[in-house]
């Protein structure tokens, strides 16, 4: 083996061959090539290792071989210069900055900020856009470089187009007139009005549960319900994709958290059996969304509720997106599964369909209500919804339950089908089921970011969701449809979106598609 050991390293040999080629020394080229290892010869099969001498006189061929050898020899990034901002902006994701180094909390945010700035400069940062007028089915916005755009608006959540509804605006004006803009206290400290009580009753009617508590935001409702009920030694089983307010509530409440596979009721059954095999004393809260906001699907709640009861576990369902916007009489996924009044705990947010900030928690237990009010910190220790907000939501609830509500939902679903059909017909993948959320799958973050940049100037306003909202590598556009969208608008938007995706794929020269596996 000593002879093999003494042989020179291939890089050195290639260097010698290149120098010799430069001098036109074909003899040295051929002699040196014979020393190149079998490894490299069998790999760099495009180099005529045995015929280098025959390149004499064949100038084109020689030039090609020299180029190929140089390519093996020189770092590739020197050949393909890239815009450093663009590279940085597109190749990172927010989680890369989640655990910064250093003991100074003020200065250690700088790295992240550098990345934000790179994304701003390359116009791939969508988080600082502002509205210039009401977020109607068409909207006008400005990005953080001060550039304006007007487009078909799938970027706002107002599923029944209540923001421009005269009765809603009138209700707001009347409450403003009667009570002023301010609630001036926590709901436990004189912050509620008679409208608040009416609203709790109306919501209870809608979901078929007797005891409702209002919260200042949907986020506060989810977080408050979980931390209000669950203690350190209790357990939480939570769908992996459940909303952030529930995930964070779970983390804050206990270390005993299991994130089960999305929608998998069998997995819940298994985990419950495992927990109950060793722990018969403590509570278990099972947590899921109704309509999931980035996948547009929902669980089999009938089985889930049954499985929970079998194991003495409590079910909490977040109906933020589906309540009011779908299901018979606007009763959402609960109504669709005939579960009105029979789910342990229901929470929701007003911010999608009910045209306001705010959220609620509902159950059939007056005790649970009082307990969550006291121990879910976001209720007791936060200013109550304003009178204008409660009045708006009360009016929205009335319309949702009326014939007009049915008509609005019908219009909404006509637009939803138009959008989904047109996107699907163009070979794109809409995830989930028809619902006010149409998740259009992209996958790769770079592709999604550049497509979003193109859309800005092409008359469609869309929100791109990426990590940490979606798992890495499965970014998507979350298109939120409104009853006010005309079907032609939806189809036009689909055409524009398809064009932007195709153009950014060409821009990135990417061959990846969006099939999941």
């Amino acid at each position: 083996m000593t002879t093999e050991l003494d042989q020179r390293e291939d890089g050195e040999l290639i260097g010698i061959i290149l120098d010799a080629a430069h001098r036109g020394d074909f003899e040295t080229m051929a002699r040196t090539a014979s020393e190149v290892s079998e490894m490299t010869r069998n790999w760099a099969t495009h180099i005529p290792w045995d015929d280098l001498a025959s390149l004499e006189g064949a100038d084109d061929e020689l030039a090609r071989v020299v180029a190929d050898l140089t390519e093996m020899w020189e770092p590739a990034h020197l050949r393909n210069p890239v815009d450093p901002d663009e590279e940085y902006a597109l190749d990172k994701n927010a989680y890369d900055f989640y655990r910064p180094a250093g003991r100074n909390l003020l200065t250690r945010t700088e790295d992240f900020y550098g990345w934000v700035q790179a994304r701003r400069r390359t116009e791939t940062w969508q988080y600082s856009r502002v509205l210039e007028a009401a977020p109607d089915s068409v909207a006008q916005i400005t990005n953080d470089l001060g550039r304006r755009a007007r487009g078909i608006n799938f970027n706002s959540q107002d599923y029944l187009s209540f923001n421009t509804h005269p009765a809603i605006r009138e209700a707001a004006a009347k409450a403003m007139h009667d009570y002023g803009p301010h609630s001036a206290g926590s709901p436990m400290v004189l912050g509620n009005t008679r409208i608040s009580d009416d609203l709790e009753a109306a919501l209870g009617d809608l979901v078929g549960l007797d005891h409702v508590t209002l919260f200042p935001t949907g986020w506060a409702a989810g977080f408050g319900a979980v931390v209000g009920l669950v203690r350190q030694s209790d357990h939480i089983l939570i769908d992996r994709l459940a909303h952030s307010c529930l995930q964070q509530g779970a983390r804050a409440a206990t270390r005993n958290v299991v994130r089960y596979e999305h929608l998998n009721v069998e997995a819940v059954r298994r985990h419950l059996a495992e927990i109950r095999a060793t722990d018969t004393r403590n509570g278990i809260l099972v947590v899921t969304d109704g309509l999931f906001s980035v996948d547009a699907d929902w669980p089999d709640l009938v089985t889930l509720q049954r499985v929970c009861r079998e194991h003495d576990a409590t079910l909490l369902v977040d109906v933020a997106h589906d309540l009011g916007s779908m299901g018979p009489g606007g009763t959402g996924v609960l109504g669709m599964q005939n579960l009105l009044g029979s789910v342990d705990i229901v929470m929701g947010a007003f911010s999608k369909t009910f045209c306001s900030n705010g959220g609620f928690v509902a159950s059939n237990s007056p005790a649970l209500k009082q307990y969550v009010k006291m121990f879910g910190g976001s209720h007791f220790f936060s200013n109550a919804l304003s009178p204008v907000q409660t009045a708006v939501v009360r009016e929205a609830t009335r319309i949702i339950r009326s014939d007009e509500g049915d008509a609005l939902r019908a219009r909404l679903f006509t637009a939803i089908h138009a959008l989904r059909d047109e996107l699907t017909g163009r070979g794109l993948t809409c995830m989930g089921e028809p619902s006010p959320i149409v998740p259009l799958l992209i996958g790769n973050e770079k592709l999604a970011r550049t497509a979003n940049r193109l859309l800005f100037d092409r008359g469609v306003l869309a929100f791109m969701v990426e990590f940490p909202v979606t798992p890495t590598g499965s970014s998507r556009f979350r298109l939120q449809v409104q009853a006010g969208h005309r079907p032609e608008e939806a189809r036009e938007a689909a055409r524009i979106i398809e064009g932007a995706i195709a153009d950014s794929r060409a821009y990135l020269s990417s061959a990846f598609g969006s099939a999941p596996r």
Partner: protein, 440 residues
């Protein structure tokens, strides 16, 4: 007239030929090499790579001459994790990709290519494929825009022509088929590593060890002939300086990344061959198929060695493409449909996420604070450590591990903290020092 001609007879080609021949198709597979012979590679097989061999009935032959283990040790800036790829995740991988999970094994091994490729070529021949080695393809025969065959030169310099219903390009990164068809490259990521390795006798350290410190890394893996494959790698930006003194810098890199391993190699090791190296590893994809041709292995998708996955990917391609071609050759489906199925699998979201994962790792930036803290959080959490290793090896999807709620939970469940690890002591200064080219 053959059903298929396969150009290239190694991980991608011999396997494709083997699987097609076993299904009764007439296959010709050619390679300009003769066997046994080596090709550039540090030849580590993760458990799914080993599982493919097992599914094809070849694992025993490999294990008869190759040491194998079920665990690997990964040490990042002194933070050590040891684990193995969970069997359940392996099953899931095979079910998702190939529709059945038979033959799954949990072991991994480093198999010299002169050993492995010989076994593959032998198996292809035994299955009934016609194998011609020392046969160089010189031309593709194209009629009406359709590839219909090849012209090539045999061992004795004779020029021959062969035709088939499909030509499979399994001819590696520098694919002749791709070059001849002037195929473009997609998703290029020029930043990659330089890698230098050799074979050492004189010590046996058990399962594979992968170490990383700053912008450099090394691996020591037991392989055939009672030797160890000892590899160092770093960012290709540093390659020029490294090359000024390859043996000296090879040892210097080892000493820097893991003084303990450096010492073992220096004092107990005997180098048995020259040092091999390359920095030609920038990543790209090529179009997968066209009229009369389809690509597999490195020819369709080449990437950096830093996750040691190319051979396993070549096996995966062989199973995917042979299943697709079989359906078409038997008349169950059209070629377009068959190729669409292959394409969907190969250009999926998961594949894109893993491509990005490898390419980003191959830039060899020093680990960030948050990445190192993640490794700390994984210590003592065997289940998640194993899942991380499975993700790194492309068994489990990147998206399942790198998911916000999972990472938050990992954090919360951490048993150790940065106080337990030296690298965090003066982290800012340490990371600055890592930016300096060790070989300048």
């Amino acid at each position: 007239m053959y059903d298929a001609i396969v150009v290239g007879a190694r991980c991608a080609g011999a396997s494709t030929a083997l699987l097609l021949a076993r299904r009764g198709h007439r296959v010709l597979v050619v390679d300009r090499s003769s066997f046994p012979s080596d090709v550039i590679s540090t030849h580590f097989l993760w458990p799914h790579g080993m599982s493919y061999l097992n599914r094809w009935g070849l694992l025993e032959q490999v294990l008869a001459v190759t040491p194998a283990h079920t665990t690997v040790e990964v040490v990042n800036d002194g933070i050590s994790l040891t684990g193995s790829v969970p069997i359940e995740l392996l099953r899931e991988y095979f079910r998702d990709l190939h529709g059945d999970d038979s033959g799954v094994v949990q072991s991994c091994a480093s198999v010299r290519r002169r050993v492995l490729d010989e076994i593959l070529v032998g198996a292809a021949a035994k299955a009934g494929a016609e194998v011609r080695t020392s046969f160089t393809v010189r031309e593709l025969i194209v009629e009406d825009g359709q590839v219909v065959g090849i012209r090539g030169r045999t061992v004795d310099g004779e020029l021959v022509e062969e035709r088939a219903r499909i030509v499979v390009g399994a001819d590696g990164r520098n694919s002749f088929v791709a070059r001849t068809l002037a195929l473009p490259k997609y998703d290029e990521r020029p930043r990659c590593t330089f890698a230098y390795w050799s074979y050492w006798s004189g010590f046996d350290l058990g399962p594979a060890q992968l170490h990383r410190r700053g912008r450099l890394a090394c691996a020591v893996v037991p392989t055939n002939f009672d030797q160890n494959m000892v590899l160092v790698w770093g960012p290709s930006e540093w390659s020029r300086e490294f090359r000024h003194d390859v043996p000296g810098n090879y040892q210097k890199a080892l000493d820097f990344v893991s003084p303990e391993l450096g010492e073992v190699v220096r004092t107990r090791g005997t180098r048995e061959e020259r040092i091999y190296g390359t920095l030609d590893q920038s990543a790209f994809l090529r179009p997968l198929h066209g009229p009369g041709w389809v690509l597999v292995g490195d020819a369709e998708s080449a990437k950096d060695q830093c996750t040691a996955i190319g051979m396993t990917h070549a096996f995966r391609d062989a199973e995917l493409v042979s299943a697709a071609l079989d359906r078409w050759l038997r008349g169950d489906t059209s070629i377009d449909e068959a190729m669409t199925v292959y394409g969907d699998r190969r250009r999926s979201q998961n594949a894109a996420a893993y491509h990005d994962y490898v390419c980003t790792l191959a830039e060899m930036r020093p680990y960030r604070h948050d990445e190192l803290q993640l490794f700390v959080a994984l210590r003592g959490n065997q289940q998640e450590t194993d899942r991380f290793i499975a993700t790194h090896a492309d068994v489990a999807p990147v998206s399942e591990f790198f998911q916000a709620s999972n990472l938050f939970l990992l954090n919360d469940a951490a048993k150790e903290s940065s106080a337990d690890h030296a690298v965090f002591e003066d982290f800012a200064e340490t990371s600055r020092s890592y930016q300096q080219n060790l070989f300048a």
